[in-house]
Symmetry: C2
Subunit: 302 residues, 2 copies
């Protein structure tokens, strides 16, 4: 089924304990699309500047990623620079240069307007909402990411967008902040009153939790031997999740749980190398093997 | 099968966001014994002072807890006072008064010397080792807890004790500290070379991980709606774990995984009220219901 992602395509400068890069392809839509394309064809809407070359586009080539919605604008692409702590548990932003992304207005090509699965990566909530208006009919599933910045600065706009969202995918701190509640379950229940029928809480190395009217589903993190760069892990998670759902064509509880597993798997791979390097070299066989390993790691009999 | 615990019986003063108590029964062996007694008869070795009254002993009565090994000494019982942060994620120790516990030398009653399952709660490693010497034959399973204090101050003694240990049960920071490695898997593998064939890593609200030659088993935390006091949660976990193993009479991978689940369940209940209050009111029916709920929360199909 048709899967559309709207979000950033960017260049990142990354400083990690295991190395640094000055300029590498990044952005939420990039990580999402690479991850999701293992499962289903992906349509991408975003904007890049004239510094985005054919060599940069190579990351997308040979995959089921449709770039007709990737606008080229005059100027530089979105640039982000960050430095991670020794244990990768925290990071500082060294630079955020929005550049062409500052004036980004998502415009869906005609061919995208029948998309049935939609992921709205972390951008201004009103822009997220504007995407829904461009679709011919309501998608089967609308999933959304957001961040503390929008929770604090555009709460009304975010609430409007949430009312038309099926799945909200955020981390634990964002969950607590959005709900104004410390307890994660209480916070989740509060958020389920805002519109989303499902909340997916990403907890980094500690795994993920999904809360809906059907109850709680939890998966522990897949423990890595040599994690290197958490950049984009949440977007790779979202890509695995939405890709698996779009491929299955189902939106029942079993399909959602399975999607969380593939999200966890893609997120875990993303962390294994700096930037998108690991996702670029990943195979479907490796994905399946890790999903089965995760299954072996959590199974038990009472 | 006979299950023996050696460790502290104490009084605690607890300051938590949801209330404070000036003097309540605590100590590692107390939490362990209460939790384990739901599964198997428990023999307890510890020491209390003459301030330990029949009313204090009431917590153990009516349960399968043998107190013949609980020595009474002149003086005051071990006393610990602590204060938790608002989100319960950290605590400060306000007072540690060892009192009669300072001279504690574990002495096993004759009737205990055939014990087949042994849990050595967090005490000085040489004292832990001295218990093994008092048993008629090597137990079927020796499990051990320790802490940063012993890892730093008595590394040689701890290594000696670890060589005769089957299961080490510690938290993630202790795992990293003991192994001198940041990565949890690398640290676990290092520790498996020190003697234990199984490492159980307790991760608080994030669950638990078990690493052995048979691979990794992970369980996410059971998310509580209203956690109140983490004191003793790790010992209640150990009690559920060892109790389930002793009751099963098996030491195979499936039995270990099942034991981790019951450990998680007992740990989660311990946190629901201040001190041992929740464990005292707990029923086996509630334990089974939560174990099944945890199972429902983690099941998925690929």
């Amino acid at each position: 089924m048709s899967l559309l992602v709207v979000g950033s395509v960017a260049f990142d400068a990354l400083e990690t304990p295991s190395g640094r890069v000055e300029r590498t392809l990044g952005g939420a839509a990039t990580y999402f699309a690479l991850a999701a394309s293992f499962f289903a064809p992906v349509r991408l809407v975003g904007v890049v500047g004239d510094d985005f070359t054919s060599r940069d586009a190579a990351a997308f080539r040979g995959r089921r990623i449709d770039l007709r919605g990737l606008e080229r604008a005059r100027g530089k692409s979105f640039f982000w620079a960050g430095r991670y702590s020794d244990d990768l548990s925290s990071r500082v932003t060294l630079a955020t240069e929005l550049n062409v992304f500052a004036d980004f207005q998502p415009k869906l090509p005609l061919a995208y307007r029948d998309s049935r699965y939609l992921f709205l990566a972390n951008i201004q909530p009103t822009l997220q909402l504007s995407v829904l208006g461009q679709l011919r009919k309501r998608p089967r599933l609308v999933a959304l990411d957001t961040m503390n910045y929008w929770i604090e600065r555009t709460p009304v706009e975010l609430r409007n967008t949430l009312r038309r969202t099926d799945v909200l995918m955020i981390n634990d701190e964002e969950t607590r902040q959005l709900a104004g509640r410390r307890n994660l379950l209480a916070a989740a229940e509060q958020i389920l009153k805002m519109g989303p029928s499902t909340l997916v809480i990403k907890r980094g190395e500690f795994g993920a939790m999904m809360v809906s009217g059907k109850g709680v589903f939890s998966v522990p993190g897949y423990t890595l031997r040599d994690p290197r760069d958490p950049t984009g892990a949440g977007d790779a998670f979202a890509g695995g999740f939405m890709g698996a759902l779009a491929a299955s064509g189902r939106v029942n509880p079993d399909a959602f749980r399975r999607a969380i597993i593939y999200g966890s798997v893609l997120g875990s791979f993303a962390v294994e190398r700096i930037g998108v390097e690991r996702l670029r070299r990943l195979t479907r066989k490796e994905i399946n093997a890790r999903a089965r390993e995760l299954q072996r790691q959590v199974r038990f009999l009472l």
